[in-house]
């Protein structure tokens, strides 16, 4: 493995690993899935043996594709389990101690508000919250870079409306 590539990889890993994980964690609400996908994205970058033109945007794109595939696989598996074992398999796992400490209802409310956004708005907000540059966001989400700010403003407004929208228990 080329030494300069390895050094550059270490720099990118140190700068990006935590925020790729956090982005995926917030997107999915599943820290194990987020950790697996983030690691796999970096493994793929390392195995590539050379850096793409825009490594940050490349990492986000690869992570999002992996995440979509994993989520689809989980959904298929969950459907199969449901058929085999009945609705019991659909039950959510009990909240972890970390969940309890981190604030239960507020976290649920943030999750509910995020879930009401369009996929693109959710991704925009979460990427910007991690400090990604407009150029990387545009490249990863295949947007026109000149309109990233406008789309961000809309996504923020959508979140505010979703946050203020009363939640009706069903």
């Amino acid at each position: 493995m080329d030494t300069s590539f390895h050094q550059r990889f270490v720099e990118i890993f140190n700068a990006d690993y935590a925020r790729v994980f956090r982005y995926l964690d917030r997107l999915s609400g599943d820290p194990e899935l987020a950790a697996d996908v983030a690691q796999e994205a970096f493994v793929r970058l390392y195995r590539r043996g050379s850096l793409p033109d825009a490594p940050t945007a490349w990492l986000i794109s690869v992570a999002m594709n992996l995440f979509r595939n994993e989520r689809a696989r989980h959904a298929r598996r969950r459907r199969l389990l449901t058929v085999e074992r009945g609705e019991r398999a659909m039950a959510e796992p009990a909240p972890s101690p970390y969940d309890a400490v981190a604030g239960g209802e507020s976290r649920d409310r943030v999750r509910a508000a995020l879930d009401r956004l369009a996929e693109r708005e959710r991704q925009l907000l979460l990427l910007r919250a991690e400090g990604y540059a407009y150029s990387d966001i545009a490249r990863a989400l295949e947007l026109n870079e000149a309109s990233v700010g406008t789309l961000l403003a809309r996504a923020k407004r959508a979140f505010r409306e979703a946050w203020e929208e009363p939640v009706h228990a069903s």
Partner: protein
């Protein structure tokens, strides 16, 4: 003229060139409407990001070194089996040739009365698991994959993928890839390789040429080529002409 939402967000995030940012900041400083918009946007963002932080779990501990070790290529089971067979042959040969070894007598005593066999060629060594032959690139607006020559045999299996990268890989024979700004040229004269071509779904315009003739064209979501995709969505493009 007041700041529009794009300008407000860009000012907030430092996404303007200094030449553009300075006059807008000066305007916002003297305009109560725009100054108010900028302050409100900053407060709203701070509140939003704080709320998003409620979703966080601890970041798993992992270092680049650990990840690099995990990413190191591993031998495939086929490779390991082939290596095992070669080792077994080598060990038998050493045992047979070892002075005082009972193996030659055992072989002769087994009633095998053949004349000494001509030396057999050594079994072919398993291929070295070298780097894959190919290129990967994020294509711009118009991109061409150019096979410089038709081939006597071989084909390109073309697949549309979700990632941002266009990739061309060769299997079975060495070929050279020349990567330009808007094209990759495969110097395949006299080669009999097969290829895998991955086209990003988002690529606007990509064409594949063989010996000067266009055999596939992707324009947005449309693909024009004489062959139909198989059950897995793969277009098999023969390289003979």
């Amino acid at each position: 003229m007041h700041l529009d939402p794009e300008q407000v967000q860009r000012l907030l995030h430092g996404e303007l060139e200094p030449g553009d940012a300075v006059p807008l900041r000066a305007h916002a400083a003297g305009c109560t409407v725009c100054g108010g918009r900028l302050d409100a946007a900053a407060r709203e963002e701070e509140e939003l990001f704080r709320r998003l932080g409620l979703l966080d779990h601890p970041v798993p501990r992992l270092t680049a070194g650990e990840l690099a070790r995990r990413a190191a290529p591993t031998r495939s089971p086929v490779w390991r089996m082939a290596a095992g067979i070669v080792l077994a042959f080598a060990a038998s040969g050493v045992l047979y040739a070892f002075p005082g070894s009972p193996l030659p007598a055992l072989v002769r005593g087994g009633g095998v009365a053949h004349p000494p066999a001509a030396p057999r060629p050594a079994p072919p060594a398993p291929p070295e698991p070298g780097r894959p032959s190919g290129v990967a690139v994020v294509p711009g607006g118009d991109f061409a994959i150019v096979f410089a020559s038709p081939q006597a045999r071989g084909s390109a299996r073309v697949r549309v993928v979700d990632g941002p990268e266009l990739a061309v890989r060769a299997f079975g024979a060495p070929v050279r890839f020349d990567l330009g700004v808007d094209r990759v040229t495969i110097a395949n004269a006299g080669a009999a390789a097969d290829y895998e071509v991955l086209l990003p779904r988002g690529a606007r315009s990509v064409r594949i040429q063989v010996g000067g003739a266009t055999v596939l064209r992707k324009t947005g979501g449309r693909i024009a080529t004489p062959s139909s995709p198989d059950a897995h969505g793969i277009y098999v493009i023969p390289l003979q002409r």
